[in-house]
């Protein structure tokens, strides 16, 4: 079907999320008279005296950042979640009105002291240092019995709601497994029980054979525009050998993950010649003390841009009320990303 699917509407199934996405390739021809987002030029200066993430600067809480030389992690000054000790909310189960307390911890993690950098511009060893802290935070936060899941994510660019360009990510560790990883875990478990291989290992085998959606690869990791991608230039980053979590990364895999993150973010920046906005994050095994051989560790990149630095995809209307819909095919998106240089 792939030749025709480039021009005719169809739907594709996401076996990880068990959801369909509508693909309407013929729609890319329509003219765009809607909102144009002027790309925000990245900050050029390595230090911004008004940035609350730069070394030595005060934060809103009154705390002052140390003169940190590498990665710097601290508790979010405006956390979405609080530890059990700070809350005393009873559950409410009143007919169809159901609410429960939710506890957790929110951390902020500066990738680098240099305000003007992005992941794409950092050196591989500096990215490796970040990965090591991701693993450390997963271990420490996850060892708290009140924490079931450690969600690491980066909002990059003003278009993605990031309020500060300083290279950083957030970690929200929660008392329950959030909806997305919980749904992915369910389908991964069903697949593993049936095949004794992870769903994403079987998927990767198919992708490596077909090659059309592969964006980049190295010895330990592969980046692919998933067959069921929702965002125009969405990618999925997978280790070749299934591991369940950051804490399982071998030294070779840490090096490989740093390498593939740099390759993919560089291609993104080069695609439209602009510092590429995105939400990125990792899905890993719950920290519930159980073994999770079914979970295949991975990263999702969800970038909003569609046709240029100024024209984004809006997930509104039919997407909010009906189902996700995309215009260009995943195959075309992968082709464009492959054509964007890795340097």
């Amino acid at each position: 079907m792939l030749s025709n699917s480039r021009t005719q509407p169809h739907r594709r199934y996401n076996p990880l999320r068990r959801q369909w996405v509508l693909v309407s390739p013929q729609r890319t021809a329509r003219p765009w008279q809607g909102q144009l987002n002027k790309p925000v030029a990245p900050d050029q200066q390595p230090y911004d005296p008004t940035c609350y993430l730069c070394p030595g600067n005060p934060r809103t809480s009154g705390d002052v950042n140390p003169q940190y030389p590498g990665v710097f992690a601290f508790d979010n000054d405006f956390p979405a979640l609080l530890p059990p000790s700070a809350t005393d909310l009873p559950a409410e189960h009143n007919g169809l009105l159901i609410a429960e307390p939710e506890n957790g911890r929110c951390r902020v993690l500066c990738f680098h002291p240099n305000h003007s950098l992005t992941l794409s511009q950092m050196t591989p060893p500096d990215i490796e240092a970040v990965i090591n802290v991701w693993a450390h935070e997963t271990l420490v936060l996850g060892s708290d019995l009140a924490i079931q899941y450690v969600q690491i994510f980066e909002n990059r660019g003003a278009m993605m709601g990031s309020s500060n360009p300083h290279p950083h990510c957030q970690i929200w560790a929660t008392g329950h497994i959030p909806e997305e990883p919980a749904a992915e875990a369910e389908s991964q478990l069903a697949h593993f029980q049936q095949h004794n291989r992870t769903l994403l290992a079987d998927y990767l085998t198919q992708e490596l054979k077909e090659k059309v959606r592969i964006v980049s690869e190295n010895e330990t990791f592969v980046a692919v525009v998933p067959f069921w991608a929702v965002w125009p230039f969405e990618t999925l980053i997978l280790p070749r050998d299934p591991i369940a979590s950051f804490v399982d990364l071998t030294p070779a895999q840490t090096t490989g993950l740093a390498d593939i993150l740099k390759r993919v973010t560089t291609r993104y920046d080069n695609l439209f010649g602009v510092s590429f906005p995105y939400t990125m994050g990792f899905h890993q095994a719950p920290t519930d003390g159980e073994p999770h051989p079914e979970i295949h560790f991975h990263a999702h990149f969800y970038p909003p841009l569609l046709r240029s630095a100024e024209i984004r995809k809006f997930m509104v209307g039919f997407e909010m009320l009906g189902m996700p819909q995309r215009d260009i095919t995943p195959e075309k998106a992968a082709e464009m990303l492959r054509a964007a240089p890795e340097l």
Copy 2:
């Protein structure tokens, strides 16, 4: 729990969608240094010579709009879906790569010839005329055996990806029931089988008793900020008496729906003193020829604004990778909407 829930993080359950949402009321205190969206001033002139939806103007397709006096519906010039006659795509079921043809029809529906109006500014009889066309389109599109669902939605405002301010909506009629209404139908069916009442009728009974989340009501319809709302000022509009679809509306309900749509959109505009952006749409029974006593017809309003005309909620990062998260409580949002005038 409701008193404490105004200040402490918790999660609430959405029984319609069977999903949890994280509520972090304490987070509204954080400063915002991110993107500010300058509100686009609404067009003042009743006719715009460059608008492809105004009466008498040419569209991109080359067609010329008639001098329509009221509501005007036509086939979308850049449809996301095509009729079976225009497609010949075989299904692909290749391991984890699953794709199927998807057919349908896309319509555009101008609410009024006057370019400068919005639903909030239209007269109740003019809104009734729109509702009658929604019912007519549902009937006609739904009577096609290839169509299982008729999704009516409005993207209002540039912030919501609308490319034209002319008052209009879209209709996407699909060969399969899309994900959102399909998931809602499942939970509604389970509830109906167990209680012999619709899920939303039972929910409405609870809301009318508690009153704290009600925004507006009339003899036939009620608008409420749902207990499980995701968007800051999300509302759900429900008929008091369960009906399954637009085609079941009584004349009194048509009048009541026009009235409540005007009330709610007027409160929205008055909340921050700006023409309020939103995605709005209706969920109704599938047009699969089966009776659907479990389906309770309703409208969802999903507006993006959070704190002011300029500061929106970004559904990114944790929301994309973890689960939906909101800051202000639904009770507070309802209070603010009740305080905004209906005139």
